[in-house]
Symmetry: C3
């Protein structure tokens, strides 16, 4: 199983307000289900061109105070573009500055708009160089890339294989830039879902041992009969589609989205109970020497067992990281079963 | 056209009953539409861990008596796992034993849970070694692999190219393990359909000259208003989706499924009649010197002709192998037209 | 952005009528929205085997008179087959003859039924040789291939990379031959849509800088309650699906289809107006130092901006090539905004 990243929440690192670090701070201080697994201070497209420098300063200034009490991981998104050297130069400078000043509080760096394999290798090199220059151990800082160009998708199998023995940790889909790069058109206001590509993203991430994350959902608010409301169903539908095909987490633009995605990527109580029934039933069948058993009309064998064991294992890992979330989701006896059952893998 | 494999029926080679070979025997003795094109004695996930040895014994014991009168092909599934050397060792031993004892009655071996290209090459090597050790001609025993890991899907184009000049004969999808390997979740009890992957599986199998087979459908029975029934519509829907995209056959877990899949992967009488009309009409147009003709409002040219000729050719091949099935499906005059019309390919 | 090819209209180069060049002529003389961006005189499957020679003669005879006044590009489709040397020999002869006689009037050659990378390289070589033999500058004649075999799809990423530094200009999908090559079946008369493949075609074309075109729609006419009608909705649905995922244009078999596809692949007046609002609004936000702005409830940042700018750029290019089409589609003030707004890319 890959690391926990149910939520990849971007927060503009500087906005034109009195407290320009407002969203960065609120992301790092969020509690309960609004706390993301990964917080991504955004120095790239979410920050205005003339505020990039202030965005870097905000990250450098706020992380030492807020990161130690933040339960998740911290992954700033810097500037980059496979087809523009100026952006790559700015990205290298930002990576160098961040690692040098607050490297202790970073898990890695998110690099957008990467292109073919060689461009991703350049991004790997930029992180390795900053790490070396500032005295960090080799591999202590990781890289996650946004997959949002035709070039990156064309080379996806090779890019993902960098995860096998390198610092690459995650693949995140960027549908807006991707659609623009392919010349796609939002007929009736809807972008394509790119479901074939998302299947491949999930596959290659699993093959390379990487986290796979879906793209942002930007229709945060909708309107019906004159009333504007938070678009909870639209986002939940997207997150469910992502969970179904094995994406590990979803992109969040807002604490409410984080709260939803954390829940969807977490087994429900009834899913957990059903998985425990299957795991316990199969464990018993194995003790009695049977390799397959029919439970609730469904055959459980070595192959199907893995699914149920994965469900239980995920709950354990969320419980380790965010005990308030598991306490709210499962009653004590169910959680105790999840913690104590024997999980046999492989 | 690839070889006939409308049905890939797995039968547990040993079950905890008085006659532990019950399903193996009934698979080999099935008649009419319940007779599969390929019978797969399952020594892997369908057989309990403590019955693996008995499963091998059952295959060795029963094949000499039952295989000669079985009309289809026989392909045992052995143990294997790309990420577990112990399983691969057991698989090599099982292949060696089966080829040594009943190699005359085998068409090939099915190897599950393969990984990247190098792992599939290892499986090829295991079959080649057993063949050589027991005095069979090179290439007389073939290999079919279950595609059910992210690693195998990542390397699918290269794996399928082994079919061009090697003993690889088929690609079979394994959705349960695959979904688990990607961390996919069965939201609302439904697994993803992996339709993008199935398109690619069909493509790569065709490019490499391999048979392509869909995954098992395990909701064999369903319930409505308190009554449990054989889930005929659910399975038929899946088999039809598979036929549409060019999968050559479907996985069967039960004689009723075999009976359905044999029928769906067989042209209907009206499809055959329509194909014959188009083939005969186009043949006549060609004699009159026209390269395209409009028949029933549809243009038939060199390109569309191939579809119709393939339909007729499939009927001929089923008629060669299972004359009772064609006799039940088509009236004599239609079958006679199918046997006598001139099919021009390439 | 890639070159303009909203419509790829094939016209049989010889038909068994008194004027055998009738469709070739009408394609080159079409006006307004019925004028295709690319006209493809079809010497391959649309022309009867015994009329191939006459088809070549018709192209050689008619182009000098009609091509100079035709606004679009001219791309004859010759014979070819990756698995049949006889077809490739005929294709080489046809390319040689066409380039030698009317090379001045050709933009390139369309080669069907290509296979793996090496076969596409052979087709590239055939065009290069004809170009050299007849004294044309290197690269003055381009190649577009029809992707309609499992072999070509298996090698698609490598084939598309030929576009990076070679004469390959376009990828066109051929669903009828493709479905036949995979052994797909038209259940209920419907072929599969191959949506996973079309996503990949769009991606690889964009990665290689190529034009991507969808397949032909051959149910030109439909019937309801005894009345036969031109199937306008069926074709429009397909073209819209293609536009959404970033295919640059659609295959047309008829002037009415050309007229529809030219319109669908052209922004509507309200799409143009909305894009202009977003572009102008974001330009203003940038001047005020903000990198993102909410317009009509949607966040516009550097990433989303590209989509809107592409819409405006497309309108400009159609206006350059076909001013009667833009005059009919947009009022003067809207067109003036599109021509004068500042578009910032990269």
């Amino acid at each position: 199983m890959t690391r926990l990243c149910r939520t990849f929440q971007t927060a503009p690192a500087a906005v034109p307000r009195e407290d320009s670090a407002k969203y960065l701070e609120s992301g790092l201080e969020a509690e309960g289900f609004e706390a993301p697994d990964w917080l991504v201070p955004d120095i790239e497209d979410g920050t205005a061109p003339d505020m990039k420098a202030e965005a870097v300063e905000n990250v450098v200034d706020r992380l030492p105070g807020l990161a130690p009490d933040f339960g998740g991981e911290v992954w700033p998104r810097v500037e980059w573009a496979h087809d523009d050297a100026e952006f790559r130069d700015r990205g290298r400078d930002q990576i160098d500055r961040l690692v040098g000043e607050v490297g202790d509080h970073l898990d890695g760096v998110v690099v957008p708009k990467v292109g073919r394999l060689s461009d991703v290798q350049d991004a790997v090199g930029a992180v390795a160089e900053a790490e070396r220059d500032h005295g960090y151990d080799d591999g202590s800082l990781e890289l996650t890339v946004i997959v949002e160009t035709a070039a990156a998708v064309s080379d996806l199998p090779d890019i993902a294989r960098l995860g096998e023995d390198d610092r690459l940790a995650g693949l995140v889909f960027g549908p807006v830039d991707y659609t623009a790069d392919l010349g796609g058109r939002a007929m009736d206001g809807e972008r394509p879902r790119w479901s074939g590509l998302l299947e491949r993203l999930s596959n290659e991430a699993s093959a390379g041992g990487l986290v796979a994350i879906g793209g942002p959902f930007d229709r945060l608010f909708d309107e019906r009969a004159g009333v504007t409301y938070y678009n909870a169903p639209g986002y939940a539908d997207q997150v469910e589609r992502e969970a179904r095909i094995g994406l590990d987490g979803s992109w969040s633009l807002h604490p409410k989205q984080t709260s939803q995605a954390n829940r969807v990527h977490m087994p429900t109580a009834s899913e957990l109970e059903s998985a425990l029934d299957k795991v316990e039933g199969f464990n018993e069948a194995k003790r009695e020497g049977t390799g397959a058993v029919v439970l609730d009309g469904q055959m459980v064998d070595e192959a199907t067992y893995k699914n149920f064991a994965n469900t239980v294992e995920t709950v354990r890992r969320i419980d380790d990281a965010h005990p308030t979330q598991t306490a709210e989701s499962y009653d004590d006896s169910l959680l105790e079963r999840a913690r104590s059952v024997t999980l046999r893998f492989g």
